[in-house]
Subunit: 323 residues, 2 copies
């Protein structure tokens, strides 16, 4: 191994500036398309997908530098999906600024999201490891798009279940995390078996991340107000899917009626009622338990030593709600 | 050379069925995303981008079979851009059937268009020649998206010109034709110089194709009614850009007012008036002349022997309007 294991914070300190520099350098064109892409990138974000490949490459015994461009590539891809996602969900703000579609219009948002995906693919191809990961990265992006399609299907499905939720989350969130983990392993020169195991680990981490996100929306960050925007937006989160499958008809039907009411017609009182149903039926407790069980499994996965502290980090915002 | 030069019709007879089979086989998934992608493909089309790579590969001395998957890939990409284009333009019908967005909704149309692009990239990567063309193909798709962005910019530009129109057309239509020509040359094992020349030739053919399309919209196919839908849709076609740059203020301002009026408020009388302005100012004649001059240049390009009859074929629908 080239150096001692790096913590997530250590990796961020070492690579965040360089990743940010390369991220902006990757958007090379002029005109409205590239201006809008830069505008979107400036809304910021955790840049988690950018950091994962170099961090993991280092901790798997390789050189982080070999995975910097792959990190940049996957962060560009992630941001492309966000631009499309904001448009599809009708979200007018992201981190306090107008989203691309609400500022530049629907047609340009379609273009900008697609352009960021293509810039990401171009960045993969520029990397020395690129030829060995491009087919998997491309397939992962297709899985993300499929996950987004499944999310809309699920929101109209008369019988949502946690299994259907998982299939959606494996695509929407898991596929790109899987690609980040695979990129780190390939850059570190690991064999196919390790690469497959890392990709599977990343995919599971993505599902775990989404499960935490669903729970967070309902129980809130410590000290933060509970917004439960997923309920107003009509999203089938894991706890809602749990109620839809397991709860008694009365609770199930009332919750689904609230979730599926148009956003503008969902009152604060209805959201409070939905939260009460999720609590009383045991859906919140089941979600907290599923989250804890998943964290436990991830911590003990064979290659989990490459991501020290990451599970706890993902868990932190909802830790207060976990038994 | 493996065999005598093939005509376009000869190539179509030989490869069309196999291309169609592979095109459908390339859409492998289940669920609404892939159902909608198949639905779109079934609207048909000329499959010109599919046929170009094998046809050109053959006529450049290679084996057409080596370029079949590249043709399928570029046809998938083209169809992805059409799905996005129909959404962006608000077109509710394509070849007499509801467009993807009008049948499946905006969010799924964003997904379906993106998925077709990614399936196209996957198909390039499956081809033996794939690694040698993937970066150029990916860049070409980015240029198409940039061209679509420029088209919207041009529709709002206070000073459209034929030069700005050309830049837009080089992206929107030229880039993918360029990729088709490059794919054919690479599959035939041609050297970098020939590949570059073929890509440039394809790009020019794409601009020529778009110029013909703009003219066709105004002068109509022989025996067909003249719809001039571009004017109602607010598109800055080449003749409109010519008037905006060259005509006297009175004609210029009246034409732009008609072109920029909302689609629903553009009466048949206004379209007739716009056509009269395009005729009286000499824009139609200039467009016909530019088309003829471009055809002449393309016919005499160094590698034009690889595409026998293609220029005449593109010209056929507007030939009656060419001096």
């Amino acid at each position: 191994m080239s150096e001692a294991v790096l913590s997530f914070e250590g990796a961020r300190e070492r690579f965040a500036d360089e990743l940010e520099r390369r991220l902006h350098a990757a958007i090379v064109g002029e005109g409205v398309l590239f201006d809008a892409a830069r505008y979107h990138l400036e809304t910021g974000g955790k840049r988690l997908r950018a950091l994962l490949p170099p961090w993991l490459a280092h901790n798997l015994g390789g050189h982080a530098e070999d995975a910097l461009d792959l990190g940049v590539a996957l962060e560009l891809v992630h941001n492309g999906t966000l631009v499309h996602d904001d448009l599809q969900d009708g979200d007018v703000q992201r981190r306090g600024r107008p989203t691309v579609w609400s500022r530049y219009g629907m047609p340009q948002a379609v273009n900008v999201g697609t352009a960021l995906l293509l810039l990401g693919i171009a960045q993969v191809l520029r990397s020395a490891v690129g030829p060995r990961v491009i087919a998997d990265v491309n397939l992962a992006i297709l899985r993300v798009v499929e996950g987004q399609a499944l999310e809309f299907e699920l929101s109209l499905d008369p019988h949502p279940t946690p299994d259907k939720w998982r299939r959606m989350a494996e695509g929407k969130t898991g596929a790109l995390f899987g690609a980040c983990f695979l990129a780190g392993a390939r850059a570190a020169g690991r064999d196919d078996e390790d690469c497959d195991a890392m990709q599977a680990l990343g995919r599971e981490l993505g599902v775990f991340f989404q499960l935490q996100d669903d729970l967070l929306d309902l129980v809130g960050d410590k000290g933060r107000e509970v917004p439960a925007t997923d309920i107003a937006e009509g999203k089938i989160s894991w706890p809602v899917a749990w109620v839809a499958e397991r709860a008694a008809p009365l609770e199930r039907e009332r919750l689904m009626a609230i979730v599926r009411a148009p956003r503008a017609e969902t009152s604060r009182a209805m959201v409070t009622e939905a939260l009460a149903i999720l609590d009383a039926t045991g859906a919140l407790a089941a979600c907290a338990q599923a989250t804890a069980a998943m964290a436990e499994r991830l911590e003990h996965a064979p290659l989990a030593h490459a991501m020290p502290g990451l599970v706890a980090r993902v868990l932190a915002p909802v830790a207060h709600a976990i038994p």
